[in-house]
Symmetry: C2
Subunit: 315 residues, 2 copies
């Protein structure tokens, strides 16, 4: 659906500010609690937290993260899920979200209604209240920025730092080709992230947003290099489809494409991997793959990640 | 300073993503703590809170909230202070901020450096760490969205609801004409808000962002109307200057202009106002004015706020 309308009567400008805010509350319905816990005061109020808190912010921008081919409900769901994936990536659970919308007055009311109804649906599905937000004018623009407040699911927060040489490297799901649909249909790995944070042998965790080849640098400890087995990389069907279209190897798509939103983590070298993987499979149907380990020098048969690039922003 | 450059070598696109993020960290300096408490992981971590938490989000958009005449340092300071004013408006103190930037690749590195150095300065001045953020591309656009996490300064959060008929209405500072400079030079009333939240006779609180005539509706209890004394409205020098220029009454500017960022609050009818005002003046040099009270019907000599409008967004 195209977000802009040439008919003033179908645009948000025809509603005016007060009626627009009233409409947004109606569209959000039960997804926004009564003020001051939801929309309607200077700040949203959130009860005190017991565990360490987590904060993340990610936008969706028209022309960058979505276009006319993505239904507005899916745009909203993607916005929330991108941020949920960041909370999952530290082993946390989400608590509340605020959304800042910047839009041209010619945005159609119909597009916006679908967007907020989609946000409400996604928020109810993962039990995250939409606690507040802001709406502002931006000539020619349409973007929504969501900030998500979460909380560690226990006393431990899993960061990107903690891996050591010889540690094993794991990834969830299948990689590459996200642009064919996964980039807005994915499920954030919240339950998996929380479980990983409770396992002592898991040492570091992140989510894949810019492609394994680029993102893995963030987990790589000093004095080590990732030695990945070429055969073990879990390649998605979408990556294979893209590979046929553009004559690049499917592996290149799996390593370089952005927006996988899968978890990447490391496990201590001494771990009983069979036991660890069995425990995982008892809890989750999500695919889990050990793709290699950190070594002091690149192993002879290992993939050279220097041959692959991840998604580069601001290009 | 104009934010865009025609010379690719002076634009953020020439830096590329990794060098840009490294530069932002450098510009922020001590204003961003080491990860995971600052920039560098999937989420920023914030220690648990004891009191209820507050969340607010406000953007600054090029062409809407600032233009080439406002120095980028002042744009950044305004962005942080707008949000601080919302925390002040509930009697809280700020704890951490995250900033999402959306920009065209032609934005000049020099503009962005000044923006982040200004943000760092403002953040250090009010002791709010910049805990994280996001940077994304938006063709033709330039906006920054800041989410501020705060905490009640005590067990009590002062909301917009709580005023009763006969309660007194107070305002801090001087009103109107903000466009002449106050809109980015103002000081958020954090200490004043926290003090008000600790006074039992204070029943409701908000900050003025869209003009008194519009904002006061939010505090008005059911079955009452604000009866304001025309002579008591504290009119700023800037409102008088504007009035001379456009031949509108200075009072109209004081009631209708946006971005005063002063506090508006109500005090129980039975309060000893002399004692209350004396306590205020012992703590603060900030001007305090009782502008009227809520009455069952509009008093004969009172201002008719229906004659004035506040700032209307999305026009």
């Amino acid at each position: 659906m195209h977000p802009f309308t040439a008919h003033a009567s179908e645009s948000v400008s025809s509603l005016g500010e007060l009626r627009l805010i009233a409409a947004i509350r109606r569209w959000l319905g039960a997804a926004t609690p009564p003020a001051p816990f939801g929309i309607g005061d200077d700040c949203a109020v959130l009860p005190p937290s017991r565990h360490p808190q987590l904060i993340t912010v990610d936008p969706v921008v028209y022309g960058e993260h979505f276009d006319d081919t993505i239904p507005p409900r899916a745009v909203a769901a993607k916005l929330l899920k991108r941020n949920l994936s960041d909370i999952a990536a530290m082993g946390g659970r989400p608590r509340a979200a605020v959304v800042a919308l910047a839009l041209d007055p010619r945005v159609s009311t119909r597009w916006l209604e679908q967007f907020y109804r989609g946000l409400a649906g996604a928020a109810r599905a993962c039990k995250v209240p939409i606690a507040g937000g802001d709406i502002t004018r931006q000539s020619g623009g349409l973007s929504a920025t969501l900030t998500l407040i979460g909380e560690a699911s226990g006393p431990r927060v899993l960061t990107r730092h903690g891996a050591k040489p010889d540690d094993w490297i794991y990834v969830t799901g299948l990689l590459g080709g996200s642009i064919l649909g996964h980039h807005y249909r994915f499920e954030p790995r919240l339950a998996e992230g929380a479980w990983l944070a409770a396992q002592r042998e898991v040492r570091s965790l992140m989510d894949l947003s810019d492609g394994l080849a680029k993102d893995l640098h963030a987990l790589t400890p000093k004095g080590a290099t990732p030695s990945l087995s070429r055969q073990s990389i879990p390649i998605s069907a979408a990556a294979r489809t893209l590979a046929k279209r553009d004559n690049r190897p499917a592996l290149a798509h799996a390593l370089s494409d952005g927006e996988d939103f899968e978890l990447l983590f490391t496990v201590a070298a001494r771990t009983d991997r069979t036991k660890f993987e069995t425990s995982w499979r008892k809890k989750f149907s999500t695919r889990l793959t050990c793709i290699g380990r950190f070594t002091r020098t690149l192993e002879p048969d290992a993939l050279n990640l220097g041959d692959f690039h991840g998604y580069e922003h601001l290009r």
